[in-house]
């Protein structure tokens, strides 16, 4: 690159006139072909990268924390993106057909709750908080967890259940919604994340 411009040296004080190019026509032709080839391969890889990818790691299984990954995933699928949600630890309960219908909101440790923690810790408070939230969700026309899971699967989101957690929790592969990917681990998640445009831990 730096040799493109003739340099001015202190000795002669002016630029050397451009010397005649000494390229062999065959060599020039070969170079041109190589440039075309490289340009084509750049265009190809641009095309392959056209589809956006998003990986979400879902680690939380409370009622409120189940929503963000599912909403983002189904919306991203509507954009035509390639989406993987890798569910691990409590996040696995979101994919558990039975447990997903009974996810609870924690009344404790949430400063936005209308009751102090000391009251929120009383028996039955989580159930009450969950019921209140569920009612709100119904009234607002917000989809249920189950609807969002079905929708995500229908639109091509890859919902993955961490195999290690399945075993840790003594779950069975049949406990999950049809279409959930099982038998995957951290390496599978990382493999998708490394090429993803967006990676989120929820």
């Amino acid at each position: 690159m730096s040799t493109d411009n003739p340099t001015t040296t202190a000795e002669d004080g002016k630029a050397e006139p451009e010397s005649e190019p000494e390229f062999d026509p065959a060599e020039l032709q070969a170079l041109r072909e190589r440039v075309d080839e490289l340009e084509a391969s750049v265009a190809d890889s641009d095309g392959a990268d056209d589809q956006k990818r998003m990986t979400i790691i879902a680690t939380q299984g409370s009622f409120d924390m189940a929503y963000p990954p599912l909403i983002l995933a189904s919306t991203a699928a509507a954009f035509g993106w390639d989406v993987v949600v890798f569910h691990t630890f409590w996040g696995l309960d979101i994919l558990h057909e039975e447990k997903s219908k009974n996810l609870k909101l924690s009344a404790v440790g949430n400063p936005n709750m209308p009751v102090p923690n000391a009251v929120a810790a009383l028996p039955g408070m989580d159930r009450m908080a969950t019921r209140m939230m569920q009612k709100k969700i119904d009234e607002n026309g917000t989809a249920t967890i189950e609807e969002l899971i079905e929708l995500s699967l229908e639109t091509g989101v890859d919902l993955q259940a961490c195999q290690m957690t399945i075993e840790l929790m003594d779950y069975d592969e049949d406990d999950f919604y049809d279409g959930v990917t099982t038998g995957v681990g951290a390496a599978t998640a990382l493999q998708h994340m490394v090429d993803a445009d967006i990676q989120l831990l929820v």
């Binding site: 189904s74 699928a77 509507a78 954009f79 026309g141 917000t142 989809a143 639109t155």
Partner: protein, 81 residues
């Protein structure tokens, strides 16, 4: 206020909130042919911004118009490819 497009299909997502208007719009568009226009009727005020964002980020669709009425948000989306 009323829009005169040769609407191929109307999608009613009244009463539904994020992400349903977007996801259902995408599904409805998938079932249409190039050149068709989908009318989406929503009550979710967030659908104004969301449909715009979705249409801008999605190939093969064009947002023709958005009409804001009394608690009703109507979107006209054309399938271009």
């Amino acid at each position: 206020m009323s829009s005169e497009y040769d609407t191929t299909e109307t999608l009613d997502v009244k009463g539904q909130s994020c992400p349903m208007p977007i996801v259902k719009t995408k599904q409805a568009i998938d079932g249409l042919e190039a050149g068709d226009v989908l009318e989406v009727v929503a009550t979710d005020s967030g659908s104004m911004s969301d449909i715009q964002g979705w249409a801008a980020g999605t190939d093969g669709v064009e947002l023709l118009e958005q009409v804001e009425g009394d608690d009703l948000y109507t979107h006209y989306v054309k399938k271009t490819a």
